[in-house]
Structure formats: structure tokens, C-alpha cells
């Protein structure tokens, strides 16, 4: 037996009805697909952004603020670490390199981050997309998405940037209006290098020698001799303070040893990945809850559609009885009804996957634009499996109308 030609014919003659069913089911499926894909992409994107941040040190305060400010360049008011720490850490046996991270200026809303060449090249591991690391106080390396060519000059403005006001607490600058952007006189940087794309907020950042940031803010420049040099070693007495230090330990054991030691000294030392694990655990919990809610919604939509199909079956009972009169077995009627529903579910599943991918991509694009964190959205096997399970569940539920059709009395239905 072959109910397919009848299923196709039914689809053709009831096209608007079938299209509405498919659309309603597809939208329910799409919401679930988008929620699952987005949750995974936020997890992946936030983890990828923290890849290069092994151990971050800040003055005692909020660990979330420290990670948000240093890894994601998000607004946070950070207390300052003592300069002696910056002077000591690069020489520590367990440290491959340690780079300060200082904020305060911006160029057209893009944060200018004061640091050392070690952060630019990740201790020599990272090759720049263009040019080289800065070697003088007036040189800058820009993120992949900063619209400045090599050789271009930029004038820093005070303030951490529109929508990105990462403002360090300068104890000696309390009287200064941090919100009002204004140029630092004639100070200017020349772009000498460009970082490769990282799909994180650092793509929009401008990296400059931290000495210049300090100098522009009227602070001591980190070096005892006024010789204009940049980078470590720093003179602790000549460093007013630094919001965060990024440390690349030599080995895993060193990482844990350093963290313990820094903590014992009263500093805030943490692995961003650790904080992310906690965040992801929370996100995972929310994801499970959202997943359960969307699944419940989908099941309700499926059941509603099946009920509508059962009602529609009543209207079709004469046509089904006619098939029986022409010799169709009860099994054929069951397969016909079940096959029709499976067709609806199958189309809805495919359309739902597509719509879900589109929705997730749209939301990720919006989220990525507002946070600067690249959200790699991909509808993969987890979503396909999820839709397959839903379609299988729907197919199981569709046995009910199939069975009802199977049991219809032929003679009574023929009389109408």
C-alpha cells in the first residue's frame, strides 16, 4: 500500500490549512532551537574571549568587575594595585610575563588601553596582522576593527569612551571631570601595528605604552630615570597604581602558586576561566530552565495542533469512509492520517531549524554588536537532535488521531 499520493493530494487541497499548521509548529520549534544555540554561543564566545587571560590580578574588590573590565573592557570602577607589585611580578620565577592594564582615555569612543608590548604579542606568541608592537611612548597598536591605517595618528581624549566608560579611580584626580571628553593637549599616537581579529572587545581597543597614559594623566611614568623608555622593569616607587595586571605563568603549578601567594598578600587574583565556569554553571541552569519551558511550550503547541487535526478529521470522516468502502484497510487509513501529520511535522521541523538558526544569528549579531564579544552561532547536532526528538514525540502523539481514524465506523460515516 502507498498512502503518499493521497497525502500529497490532501496537502495540495488543504494548502492554507497545512501552511498555517506548519508555520505555527515551525515557530515553536524555532524558539527552542534559537534558545539552545544562543546559550551555547554565549558560553563559547565568552570563554573564547578569556582564552588569553590566564591569571588576572587586581586590588581587593569585585572579582566580576575585575574580569569584566580587564577581559571584556566593560565599565567598572576598579581600585588600584600598588606599583611595587608591577615592579616585582615580571621578575618572579614563575612568571613568563606580566603586563599592566590601564584605562582612562579613548579615541572616538574606542578605549585606549595602556599596557606593555608583552600584552600586544602575548609574550612573543602572537604575530600581528600588520606592522609591529609599539617601541616608543607615542606609538600605538590598534585592534582589528579600529578604522585607522598603519602610520595614521590619533589624539587621545580623556574618558574611557562612549558606552565604554571604564574609569579607574585616580585618587589624585578626584577633582577632574571624567565624563567630559577632552583632548590631552597635542599628545598623539602613531599607529605602528594591528592585532589580528579576536572576536572580542579588544578588536575595538587601541593599545599604547602605559607610561604614556600615566604621563598624560599627570602621574609618574613608572621609571625612575626620565629617559623615555617603555616596558618592564618598572620602578615601584614611580608607579602611582595600576587597575589590573595580566600574568602569564610559566606552568600550571606556577599559576596556582602565584594565585595563592597573591591572595595571601591580600590581592584579588583569579583565573577568568574559573569565574566563567561559575557563570556558565548559572547560565547552564538558566539554559536548562529555558529549555524545559520551550519544550513544554512546544509540546503544548503540538497537542493543540493534534487536537485541531482530530477536529478536522471529523470533517473528513466521509472521505475516509469512502476510502474504506473502496477497499482501503484500516491500516491504510491509519498510515494516511499518521503520514499526513508526520509530513506536517517534518516540514515544520526543517523550517523550524532554519528559522531558529536565523533567529539565533539575528540575536547573536545584536548581542555581539552591543557587547563586542563574538558570539559564534551555529545550529549543530544538538539542535538537530532536539528537533528530531520533538518530531519523534509528535509522531508518537500522532498515533492518537491515526488510531481514531482506524476505528471509525465505515457505514455510519458514509451516511454522513
Amino acid at each position: 500500500m502507498n498512502p503518499l499520493p493521497l497525502i500529497r493530494a490532501e496537502g495540495r487541497s488543504a494548502l492554507p490549512f497545512a501552511a498555517v499548521f506548519i508555520l505555527v509548529l515551525a515557530l515553536a520549534i524555532a524558539l527552542g532551537v534559537a534558545a539552545a544555540a544562543l546559550e551555547r554561543s554565549v558560553r563559547k564566545g565568552s570563554a573564547a574571549a578569556a582564552d588569553d587571560f590566564d591569571l588576572v590580578v587586581g586590588a581587593p574588590g569585585s572579582s566580576a568587575d575585575l574580569v569584566l573590565a580587564s577581559v571584556y573592557l566593560r565599565p567598572a570602577a576598579l581600585p588600584l594595585l600598588p606599583g611595587s607589585l608591577l615592579a616585582r611580578l615580571p621578575g618572579d620565577a614563575g612568571v613568563a610575563w606580566a603586563a599592566p592594564i590601564g584605562f582612562g582615555d579613548n579615541w572616538r569612543g574606542r578605549p585606549i588601553v595602556g599596557t606593555t608590548a608583552d600584552l600586544v604579542t602575548l609574550g612573543g606568541r602572537r604575530t600581528l596582522a600588520e606592522g609591529r608592537a609599539f617601541a616608543a611612548r607615542t606609538e600605538a597598536v590598534v585592534g582589528a576593527k579600529v578604522p585607522l591605517a598603519i602610520g595614521a595618528t590619533l589624539k587621545p581624549q580623556h574618558g574611557a569612551g562612549h558606552g565604554n566608560p571604564i574609569i579607574p579611580r585616580h585618587q589624585d584626580h578626584d577633582d577632574e571631570d571624567d565624563d567630559a571628553d577632552h583632548a590631552h593637549g597635542d599628545a598623539a599616537y602613531t599607529v605602528v601595528g594591528r592585532l589580528p581579529p579576536q572576536n572580542n572587545p579588544w578588536d575595538h581597543a587601541i593599545l599604547v605604552p602605559i607610561e604614556m597614559v600615566w604621563a598624560l594623566h599627570g602621574l609618574t611614568d613608572g621609571h625612575a630615570a626620565d629617559d623615555g623608555r617603555i616596558g618592564p622593569p618598572f620602578d615601584g616607587a614611580a608607579v602611582a597604581g595600576v587597575p589590573a595586571i595580566l600574568i602569564k605563568p610559566r606552568a600550571v603549578a606556577d599559576a596556582y602558586g602565584l594565585r595563592a601567594r597573591l591572595r595571601s598578600e591580600g590581592q584579588l587574583a583569579l583565573f577568568p576561566a574559573e569565574l566563567l565556569v561559575e557563570l556558565h554553571r548559572l547560565l547552564g541552569g538558566i539554559g536548562t530552565l529555558v529549555g524545559a519551558i520551550t519544550l513544554a511550550t512546544q509540546v503544548l503547541v503540538f497537542v493543540s495542533v493534534l487536537l485541531a487535526v482530530v477536529v478536522a478529521l471529523a470533517a473528513r470522516r466521509r472521505r475516509l469512509a469512502l476510502l474504506r468502502a473502496l477497499g482501503a484497510s484500516r491500516g491504510f487509513i491509519f498510515l494516511l492520517i499518521w503520514g499526513e501529520l508526520l509530513g506536517l511535522l517534518g516540514f515544520a521541523g526543517l523550517l523550524g531549524l532554519g528559522l531558529g538558526a536565523l533567529l539565533a544569528w539575528g540575536l547573536a549579531t545584536i548581542g555581539s554588536a552591543s557587547s563586542g564579544v563574538g558570539l559564534p552561532v551555529a545550529v549543530g547536532w544538538p539542535e538537530i537532535l532536539r528537533v528530531a526528538v520533538l518530531v519523534a514525540l509528535g509522531a508518537a502523539l500522532a498515533i492518537v488521531p491515526g488510531w481514531l481514524g482506524f476505528r471509525r465506523p465505515v457505514a455510519a460515516d458514509l451516511r454522513g
Binding site: 500500500m1 502507498n2 498512502p3 503518499l4 499520493p5 493521497l6 500529497r8 493530494a9 490532501e10 496537502g11 495540495r12 487541497s13 488543504a14 466521509r318 472521505r319 469512502l322 476510502l323 474504506r324 468502502a325 473502496l326 477497499g327 482501503a328 484497510s329 484500516r330 491504510f332 465505515v410 457505514a411 458514509l414 451516511r415
Partner: protein, 237 residues
């Protein structure tokens, strides 16, 4: 007298009805008797018209003869087969192979073309319609005069054309029995005449046993025998 179970050309089947009763239980516990036919026989290949007022039990009789419904009591034998003794699935199969049904309202599948509707019974037990059935469908479509419209969706056809498609569908498997329930009732006079001609002509050519239930006196008059059903109780000539 018992007639031979099959006609000379081997197509039609003889009918033998014994003590056939159909009744339905009513709300007050009593039974509503719909049919009560003590005995009735038809030779193989016979053609007969059944008249009767509305509610006389004509359609119920047709359902019992087709094995669509089981009687409360009695036997319906077609050839050597007592269809009242068959299981529901066996009756489905028997009906598929031996009975061609024509209805007043055609009951075509609206999303299909004329050709697909004629071929539809083939899909009840084949994945693809076998070549002989495809060829037979083409032959029947030509015989009912719809060769040029064979790919046209039936929803866009006139009522007369639709009933001609239904006629071709009923004859696809060369059934030994053709049962027609008011085949001309929903057609205008011209359409009814044309469909009546085709029904008698095609059934005559196939040698099938033909039973036509109708109010259409023109159609009944052209059948070699007519009987009248009165309150489901007799098949008087």
C-alpha cells in the same frame, strides 16, 4: 432455483441472500428494524435496478451487499464466498478485489487529477500502480470521454465529468460486482443520461453483476430487471 456462482465469461458473481436482517438498538431498548429480506438471488452477470422511497433501506442494503456493514442476522454469499463470515480486514480485501462502487456524490479526491483518481484504488495495495492498471486507467478514461482532461484536477471539472471519473475508478480492477448508489441523482438530465449510458454500457461489456439503486426512472427503465424495496421488507418485482 440457485444460479451458477459465476457468469459464462467468468467475471460476474452470483448473489445469494438468506435471512438478511439489519436492525439498530434504540434509546428505549427496542430495536429499529431497517431490513428484513428472507431470501433473494441474482444470477452472475445480472443487471438490476432497486427502487424505493427514502428510508426504505436501499443504502443499508447496498452496504450489506458490499460488506461495508455486517448484518444483524443472515448471509450474503457472492459466488462461493459468504462475506458475512469474513473478518473486517478480509472483507476490505474482498471488496477491493471484487466490488466497484459508484456514489451519488462521486467522492473523488479533490487534490488529484482525473487520472490519479481513477488510479487511486491501485495504491491501496501497491506502492506503484502496476502497468496493467495504468493501461486500464487510460483505457477507461478514454471510454468515459475524458482523454483530454485526464491531467485536469477533478475540482475544476463539471459534476457530470466528475461522475464519469468516479465510474472509471469503480471499474479499474474489472470488478465482478458493480454497486451504484443513486449514480445520476446529483446530475442534470443530460448528464444523468450520459452517465447512465456509460454505466450500463461499461458494466455490460465487463460482464459484471450490476446493482443500481436509484430514483431515476429513466435509468431504472433501461435495466433488464427492477425490484422495489418497501420499508426494508421485500424485494418485489
Amino acid at each position: 432455483m440457485l444460479h451458477s456462482p459465476q457468469s459464462d465469461d467468468g467475471r460476474g458473481l452470483a448473489l445469494q441472500v438468506e435471512g438478511l436482517r439489519l436492525s439498530y438498538p434504540m434509546a428505549d431498548g427496542r430495536e429499529l428494524a431497517v431490513l428484513d429480506i428472507p431470501a433473494w438471488r441474482l444470477p452472475a452477470g445480472a443487471a438490476i435496478g432497486i427502487a424505493g422511497a427514502s428510508g426504505s433501506g436501499k443504502t443499508s442494503l447496498l452496504h450489506l451487499l458490499a460488506g461495508i456493514e455486517r448484518p444483524t442476522a443472515g448471509r450474503v454469499r457472492w459466488g462461493g464466498t459468504d462475506i458475512t463470515a469474513l473478518s473486517e480486514s478480509a472483507r476490505d480485501r474482498w471488496r477491493r478485489l471484487h466490488v466497484g462502487l459508484v456514489f451519488q456524490d462521486f467522492h473523488l479526491i479533490p487534490g488529484m487529477s482525473a487520472e490519479e483518481n481513477v488510479l487511486m484504488p491501485a495504491w491501496l495495495d501497491h506502492v506503484r500502480a502496476p502497468g496493467r492498471l495504468t493501461a486500464r486507467a487510460a483505457e477507461l478514461i478514454a471510454q468515459v470521454g475524458l482523454n483530454d482532461q485526464r491531467r485536469q484536477p477533478v475540482a475544476r471539472m463539471s459534476r457530470g465529468q466528475q461522475q464519469r471519473v468516479a465510474l472509471a475508478r469503480a471499474l479499474l480492477r474489472d470488478p465482478a460486482i458493480i454497486l451504484a448508489d443513486e449514480p445520476t441523482a446529483s446530475l442534470d438530465r443530460d448528464g444523468a443520461g450520459r452517465v447512465g449510458n456509460l454505466l450500463l454500457d461499461l458494466a455490460g461489456r465487463s460482464g459484471a453483476t450490476l446493482i443500481v439503486i436509484s430514483h431515476d426512472q429513466d435509468l431504472l427503465a433501461r435495466l433488464p430487471r427492477q425490484v422495489k424495496l418497501e420499508a426494508g421488507r421485500s424485494l418485489a418485482p
